[in-house]
């Protein structure tokens, strides 16, 4: 049974249960729950995992909210149905309790009706839609629902609940392209110098991030935090540089300028650039690689033989700079060829040097409002710490040691400017050979490439010596002109790819926007017949939350898996109470390399073991999923999906088979017992196959994960591949093709986004872009909105869906800024605003109210609102009266970048409503 350990302090009947917390993307945290007289009373770290978990088995503060979450008196504990057909914020839903039978029949009836009409509606969109919470965390709680969705067929997951505007969107897409880095992290255990542009790792890096950065500080790592306000991460950094919002790209460009124009080339990692990047590739007159006419391989100029040769010619010394007269062809958009003879070609690196010539620190200083000397010093320190030429042995293999990295935070790495910043960050790593090597900049997970559980195995040879990437097609014959999901990600965003994650990564606001106004030359908008919602509250967490709320109120049938009443399930037709974190049963894959700083030396599985029977009539998600499958006639496909691994582990392998009988429904424990057996077999190559009882006793099981696989460099070198830096020829071509396809279909409203497909990105006046867009769209004078409003993640709340938990609210209150409008004191003085005053913060779109907290750690032109609040239905949280920026941010195409995201900021004005009490 459950693991029992003598626990001090109590003699009552007690035991402890092992489980995990995956309330945020930085999970899972492993923990133990103390149970006294059958009641869960206490959360504690799981020290049984101390030797395998990167943070010693510690659990983050959010996990300590789980006991209150379990017993919260505001929980919905019975299935409920809506009695008021009118939907909207002002309408009382009139929810009444019903039986599970009635609720499931109701839901299955709608699903069956939709299915009977066809899985796809007249516009080509899936009739079933589903929205889940941030970063895929709900999958750690939804049991076998993925198997049901797989059994169902096409499901539209593109109704966003925060994606794009609240995530690291550009980083996700470009990161995966360049180094299989859906999320990017410094190799913190070895890094000595980290430039962090707003990356708030102490708030969003989870226990592994916090532990690793604390260890790194003690080791002497210098972290420079560049951001408009002094976040908790800035607080824990050696230096804070208050940069003007959304000008980070200029700072980064100036760093590149310093490295390339103010230092000897020998300071760079020239072998890395020559042999592991596309720096030597020659560029043709139209901006495409100059290629060998026979093989169509990109050409480099060999300094030894003084002639142009294909990039994969052995034993050459390619030129990085200079002008070389060569013959070759260019392959442009739609395979258009252009032949050139004796063309004066420059290598990509040389182009780069020219490109950044004007981006000096003196140029960047007034843009960023940071002294040129400071920018220059940071660039020099970056170079000084890079230790070009040093090596380190990892598991017997000698690798470069480059202990410098740059990390980017939200609003820096999404929206306009995200491309520039991600490119510059990745390029700076390449210049000193610090990409995907010990101490440098690493990717930690893959989500768009397959297979997703291992970065190394996702590395496959692609064109021109680069890794392959599953771009959405842009060719004449294969471009997907009719979007298969309402975000149109496959139509508009080649980089979004087509993995199970892709829909949720497209321009998800388009799905909401088109509910109001069709986009010209795309199929007419249609609401989903059935919309499933789990662990998300887009009526609060997205941008322009009023527009989103209005749109969802028009959906014909919404099913919310409901914890408490909230602003989204206010428009639901059926509420289904699922087991909360501590009540449900699930086996989860852990370890390897995952989000943020989650790179482990182990990999395996952990069990989420219920602490006791569910409260009220809450049901385990696996039971609900099985019932939905049974009632929709999909049981066989559902069980087959489980057998294939849709619940996290494939039930059969080369020498074991614990597959379930597909023809009959299985109870929850049977399903997870089979999963546990398969997991044990997978971890032991079939030697062991203990079931649920094993994981209940031990909580987790792991096997070693090679540290060498933290780094992509050895895999790329082994495969003879190069990092696709600095010159983005592939994207340039795809952009041209996409432009043609869209224009052929008459679509011109995506033209601005097409400008992003530059092979070497130019600086754009991003502030001006924002300001101009707002002025035009709202017919306002932007000078009337003098402040940038930004946000920051809160370790206590982010992703947690825990806004109604008293303990979390209480302890978050100890961290300055929660629930307030944070403002610079000097700026407030000028406006006659005092600490504690009630103010209105108004953007051209909307307004919010809150009490001011004055501080010195924020730029005078910037306001800060931490987290996402503004609740009006969620019990407990609705009494906070905390400001939130989400309602203030307009969903606009002009503010949407080519990857389909926007940055999380807006221009506002502030006015005092009443004095502090």
């Amino acid at each position: 049974m459950n693991a029992t350990h003598p626990m001090p302090g109590n003699t009552r009947a007690e035991r402890s249960v092992s489980t995990y917390c995956y309330q945020c993307v930085a999970g899972p945290d492993l923990l133990k729950v103390r149970i006294q007289d059958g009641i869960a009373t206490e959360v504690a770290p799981n020290f049984d995992a101390a030797d395998v978990h990167p943070a010693g088995g510690k659990a983050c503060v959010k996990a300590f909210g789980l006991v209150q979450k379990l017993y919260n008196p505001h929980r919905i504990l019975h299935p409920m149905k809506r009695t008021n057909p009118r939907k909207g914020r002002g309408e009382d839903p009139g929810f009444v309790a019903i039986s599970w039978d009635e609720a499931l029949d109701l839901v299955a009836g709608k699903l069956n009706a939709a299915r009977a009409e066809g899985l796809i509606d007249a516009s080509g969109y899936p009739r079933l839609a589903a929205s889940f919470g941030g970063g895929g965390t709900p999958t750690a709680y939804m049991g076998t629902l993925p198997a049901f969705l797989a059994a169902w067929g096409p499901v539209d997951m593109s109704f966003g609940s925060g994606q794009g505007v609240k995530c690291y969107h550009s980083e996700h897409l470009y990161g995966e392209l360049w180094h299989r880095a859906f999320t990017v992290s410094p190799d913190t255990p070895l890094c000595d110098y980290l430039v962090s542009f707003g990356a708030n790792v102490e708030a969003s890096g989870g226990v592994c991030g916090v532990k690793r950065h604390a260890d790194a500080r003690k080791r002497g790592m210098k972290r420079v935090q560049i951001e408009p306000h002094l976040s908790v991460t800035g607080a824990c950094s050696a230096e804070w540089i208050p940069i003007k919002p959304k000008t980070d790209a200029a700072f980064l460009f100036a760093m590149i300028h310093v490295v390339l124009h103010e230092h000897e080339r020998t300071r760079l990692d020239l072998p890395f650039l020559k042999h592991h990047t596309s720096s030597p590739y020659l560029i043709g007159p139209k901006g495409f690689f100059l290629r060998d006419p026979d093989t169509r391989k990109p050409l480099m100029f060999d300094l030894t033989t003084q002639r142009a040769v294909p990039y994969d010619t052995a034993g050459i010394d390619p030129a990085l700079e200079g002008v070389f007269h060569v013959d070759g062809i260019e392959v442009g958009a739609d395979q258009e060829f252009a032949a050139h003879f004796n063309f004066a070609a420059t290598p990509a690196f040389g182009r780069l040097v020219e490109h950044v010539q004007g981006y000096s620190p003196e140029w960047a200083a007034p843009i960023c409002d940071v002294a040129a000397a400071t920018i220059r010093r940071i660039a020099n320190e970056f170079l000084d710490h890079a230790r070009v030429g040093d090596t380190i042995e990892i598991e017997g293999e000698t690798l470069p040691l480059r202990p410098v990295a740059i990390s980017l935070g939200k609003t820096v790495n999404n929206g306009w400017g995200g491309y520039e910043c991600c490119w510059a960050r990745t390029l700076l790593a390449c210049l000193v050979g610090a990409l995907e090597v010990p101490g440098g900049t690493l990717g930690t997970t893959v989500r768009l490439n397959r297979p997703a559980d291992n970065r190394w195995s996702s590395v496959k040879p692609g064109p021109d010596g680069f890794m392959d990437y599953p771009m959405n097609p842009t060719g004449r014959d294969d471009w997907i002109s009719r979007p298969p999901a309402r975000s149109a990600h496959r139509t508009l965003v080649p980089l979004a790819a087509n993995s199970p994650w892709s829909q949720a990564l497209g321009p998800t606001h388009l799905a909401w926007m088109m509910q109001k106004d069709d986009f010209a030359h795309l199929p007419a908008a249609s609401p989903p017949d059935v919309w499933l919602v789990y662990r998300t509250n887009p009526a609060i967490s997205f941008w322009d939350t009023k527009a989103v709320s209005d749109a969802m109120a028009k959906f014909p049938f919404t099913v919310c898996f409901a914890y408490t009443h909230d602003e989204t399930n206010h428009v639901a037709d059926v509420l289904l109470p699922d087991c909360t974190d501590l009540e449900g049963l699930q086996l989860l894959r852990i370890g390897g390399t995952k989000y943020v700083e989650q790179f482990w030396d182990h990999q395996g599985f952990s069990l989420r073991d219920p602490v006791g029977p569910p409260q009220g009539e809450a049901k385990d998600f696996t039971w609900i999923s099985t019932e939905l499958a049974r009632r929709t006639g999909l049981l066989e496909q559902y069980n087959a999906a489980i057998n294939r691994g849709a619940a996290g582990v494939r039930l059969s392998g080369p020498n074991y088979d614990f597959s379930l009988d597909p023809s009959v429904p299985h109870d929850v424990e049977t399903i997870w017992d089979a999963a546990c057996r398969a997991a044990n077999a997978e971890l032991t190559d079939g030697a062991e196959s203990q079931g649920l009882a094993y994981f209940r006793e031990y909580g987790l099981r792991v096997k070693p994960f090679p540290r060498l696989q933290w780094y992509l460099y050895p895999k790329l070198v082994g495969a003879g591949l190069r990092f696709e830096q600095p010159y983005q020829e592939r994207l340039f071509r795809i952009g041209k093709e996409l432009e043609r396809r869209l224009h052929e279909q008459g679509i011109h409203w995506w033209d601005r986004q097409l400008e992003e497909y530059e092979p070497l990105p130019h600086w754009r006046d991003l502030a001006g872009l924002w300001e101009g867009a707002l002025e035009r769209h709202f017919d306002v004078r932007i000078d009337d909105f003098p402040f940038w409003l930004v946000t920051a993640r809160s370790m206590q709340y982010s992703w947690g869906g825990n806004v109604g938990i008293q303990l979390i609210h209480e302890v978050a209150g100890n961290v300055a800024g929660h629930g307030n409008v944070v403002m610079n004191r000097g700026a407030a003085d000028k406006l006659g605003i005092a600490d504690g005053d009630l103010v209105e913060v108004r953007s051209p779109l909307n307004q919010t109210k809150g009490r001011v907290m004055l501080c010195e750690g924020i730029r005078p032109d910037t306001l800060l609102m931490i987290g996402q609040f503004d609740h009006w239905a969620t019990p407990y949280a609705k009494d906070f009266h905390a400001p939130s920026m989400n309602a203030l941010m307009p969903m606009m195409l002009e503010l949407t970048d080519a990857t389909g995201s926007s940055a999380d900021l807006v221009k506002v004005k502030i006015s005092k409503l009443e004095s502090a009490p």
Binding site: P6, Q36, I39, K58, A214, V811, N814, R825, M853
Partner: protein, 525 residues
């Protein structure tokens, strides 16, 4: 206990873990992490500082505890026996680290809806008594009984240390040179908070490598001027919460009553009688003590106040009262000067005890200053004289002593004004919470006007204008008395700002040198 300020990120996991493990009520955070900002834009630092009971080697909370509820174990852990504590909150105002809590009624996360977990862990023993961090002494004891090493084995280690995700908190035996905590203190620069108060706290803060110079170049602007306006709420001194008007009433009544008893006794030397005023004096003192009875969390245990006269001035006050009332009653009953004088002397001891109660409240800078003793004693005596002067107008038999009483009142009012002035000056020299000084300075002219100038004017006028002399003397006496009462009321209920929190250094963060000291909300930083 060690908190590494370079590591701490202010995440509050320790706070939440402590709330879980110790099942404290909402907002009762035995362990919490402060978020302290210092400097001015753009040279700003922000430091996260775990705080809680410092388990001082010389704990003022224990010294003041009248009931012996607060004790110190052989291993240095300061504990509270909930079954003995009377809930007087004297320890609360004696603690310079704001580490103590008192919850007078059960409270729950969701108001009236008591959660199952709260029902399971509810502990009625904690209601109405002092509570604070115990360093999870039950875990330590469990560990030691089972051969485990506190600070090493999680089962023998405080929950906050176990929970800390940054490894910022460390616990162990400082007497063991090989322990982790001993090693950390050897290897790294450290300070203890409020070291100047000399309580020898057992909580150390690491802020950098040993031998690193401090960064005076980035010294922030003095934080004093910003107290209460900047982001220093919960860091700069705030007003103590537990000693309200009822507690102030004890000082008001105790001073006036014992002062009156003194002058009744002196008057009896002249008149041979105390008239009924001795009874009145005793009644006033009793009223003050009755108000205290209404205030304490566990009034049924009030007698426990007598348990620790060896250390606690509150216990001493109670013991003196135990002598004062019977002796005073006998003296009043038999109305003999000798007995009255004896009772008055005991009354003065009572008054002195009250002054020392404030003096020993180490957590309240405006009280703990030594000059509070002459102030409280002087004003008590002046108030007594004032009351007697007022009585001369009402009791014809006292008329013969009216003139000399008026002179004495005038002298005592002047003496009190001098001690008041000296007290304020001393406070400024020693340093105090800015807001306490603001309160006292705002009140200062009123003490002089109502407590000195007006009574003197009335007395002089009384000597000049014969017909209304009794009335003028009475007004003067009442003025002196009222000013004294107001002074003590203000001192306890308005100027009782606590120590707040301060840093001797802001920490290094990976690279660089430690920053300067931070002491927000203080007149002297």
């Amino acid at each position: 206990m060690i908190a590494d300020l370079e590591r701490c990120v202010g995440c509050q996991t320790c706070t939440a873990a402590c709330r879980h493990t110790n099942a404290t009520s909402p907002a009762v955070q035995w362990r919490k992490v402060l978020d302290i900002e210092a400097g001015s834009y753009p040279n700003v630092s922000r430091t996260f500082v775990p705080v809680g009971c410092q388990h001082c080697a010389d704990p003022p909370c224990m010294h003041v505890c009248p009931s012996t509820a607060t004790r110190q174990r052989a291993d240095g852990i300061v504990t509270i026996d909930y079954d003995i504590c009377i809930g007087c909150a004297y320890c609360d105002v004696a603690c310079p680290y704001q580490a103590r809590f008192k919850v007078d009624a059960p409270s729950f996360a969701y108001r009236d809806a008591e959660l199952k977990s709260e029902i399971e862990r509810e502990d009625p023993h904690r209601i109405g008594v002092a509570q604070k961090c115990t360093f999870c002494s039950d875990r330590i004891d469990f560990g030691l009984e089972n051969g485990l090493t506190p600070g090493q084995d999680p089962r023998a280690t405080p929950a906050c240390v176990n929970a800390c995700i940054a490894d910022a908190l460390h616990f162990g035996d400082l007497d063991d040179p090989d322990s982790t905590v001993s090693r950390l203190l050897r290897e790294q620069s450290h300070f203890r908070m409020h070291e100047e108060i000399a309580t020898d706290p057992g909580f150390y803060y690491l802020y950098g490598k040993t031998g690193q110079p401090d960064d005076d170049a980035r010294r922030p602007a003095a934080a004093a001027a910003d107290a209460g306006t900047l982001r220093t709420r919960g860091v700069e001194p705030w007003h103590q919460q537990h000693w309200d008007w009822k507690a102030a009433g004890n000082f008001v009544c105790g001073g006036a009553g014992t002062g009156l008893l003194l002058f009744v006794a002196l008057a009896s030397l002249r008149n041979g009688s105390s008239f009924p005023l001795a009874w009145l004096a005793l009644a006033i003192v009793a009223l003050g003590l009755f108000l205290v009875l209404l205030k304490i969390g566990r009034p049924l245990r009030a007698a426990f106040v007598l348990r620790q006269p060896q250390r606690s001035w509150m216990a001493r006050e109670a013991w003196v009262a135990m002598v004062l009332f019977p002796l005073g009653a006998v003296a009043a009953w038999y109305d003999t000067s000798a007995l009255l004088i004896a009772a008055a002397v005991v009354g003065l001891l009572f008054l002195y005890s009250q002054a020392m109660i404030l003096r020993e409240a180490k957590g309240i800078p405006a009280w703990r200053i030594s000059l509070v003793v002459p102030l409280i004693v002087t004003t008590g005596i002046a108030e007594g004289a004032g009351l007697l002067l007022a009585a001369t107008a009402l009791l014809p038999t006292l008329a013969p002593v009216a003139n000399e009483t008026a002179l004495v009142v005038a002298i005592l009012a002047a003496l009190r004004a001098w001690t008041w002035r000296t007290y304020l000056l001393g406070l400024r020299i020693e340093g105090a919470p800015v807001r306490a000084i603001v309160v006292l300075e705002r009140f200062r002219p009123w003490v002089f006007a109502l407590g000195l100038a007006l009574p003197l004017a009335l007395i002089v006028l009384g000597f000049v204008v014969d017909g209304v002399r009794p009335a003028l003397f009475a007004l003067a006496g009442l003025g002196v008395c009222a000013a004294g009462g107001a002074l003590k009321f203000i001192l306890v209920t308005r100027a009782g700002f606590n120590q707040g929190f301060a840093l001797a250094h802001t920490p290094v963060r990976g690279s660089g040198v430690p920053g300067p000291a931070v002491k927000p909300g203080w007149s002297i930083t």
